[in-house]
Symmetry: C2
Subunit: 87 residues, 2 copies
């Protein structure tokens, strides 16, 4: 969906510029954690995911596939679900 809506912009801006925007949204998300408004928080999560997807598109990475390959229903470090890592 993000590709349909924004790829023409994202690809022109490139990866570093798109990561700049992602970083900005991650910062806004941190501020929103302190707010009382659930809607404001949901908006910031939406933006964070949107920009992460935009960046994945610019780098031709399938975000879903990458996540499900690494986190294949268990912790990639200890192999368990729930995770039983000891640090």
């Amino acid at each position: 969906m993000m590709r349909r809506i924004y790829f023409h912009r994202d690809s022109k801006r490139g990866a570093i510029g798109t990561h700049d925007w992602l970083l900005e949204e991650i910062g806004e998300l941190r501020e929103a954690l302190k707010e009382e408004s659930k809607k404001a928080l949901e908006d910031e999560f939406a933006d964070a995911l949107a920009w992460l997807a935009s960046l994945a598109n610019v780098k031709h990475v399938d975000l879903d596939k990458a996540a499900l390959t690494k986190y294949d229903s268990k912790c990639p470090k200890c192999g368990q679900s729930p995770c039983r890592c000891t640090f």
Copy 2:
């Protein structure tokens, strides 16, 4: 899936601590943009999405629903797909 694997840890750590980890992954993602290895880049995208989902779980936000509510098949600012915003 992230809830099943990690919620017991994420909820104890809390939102700010989880956001700290998310921020670290976003930084690693930026470094990975410069690397040649596609696999390394895919891993960092996986981690970024995983930590964003972890944070959403800690805050009881449905990440999918938040994104699809805001980006309902069109740009939330101009209402078009592809986006036709002029800045």
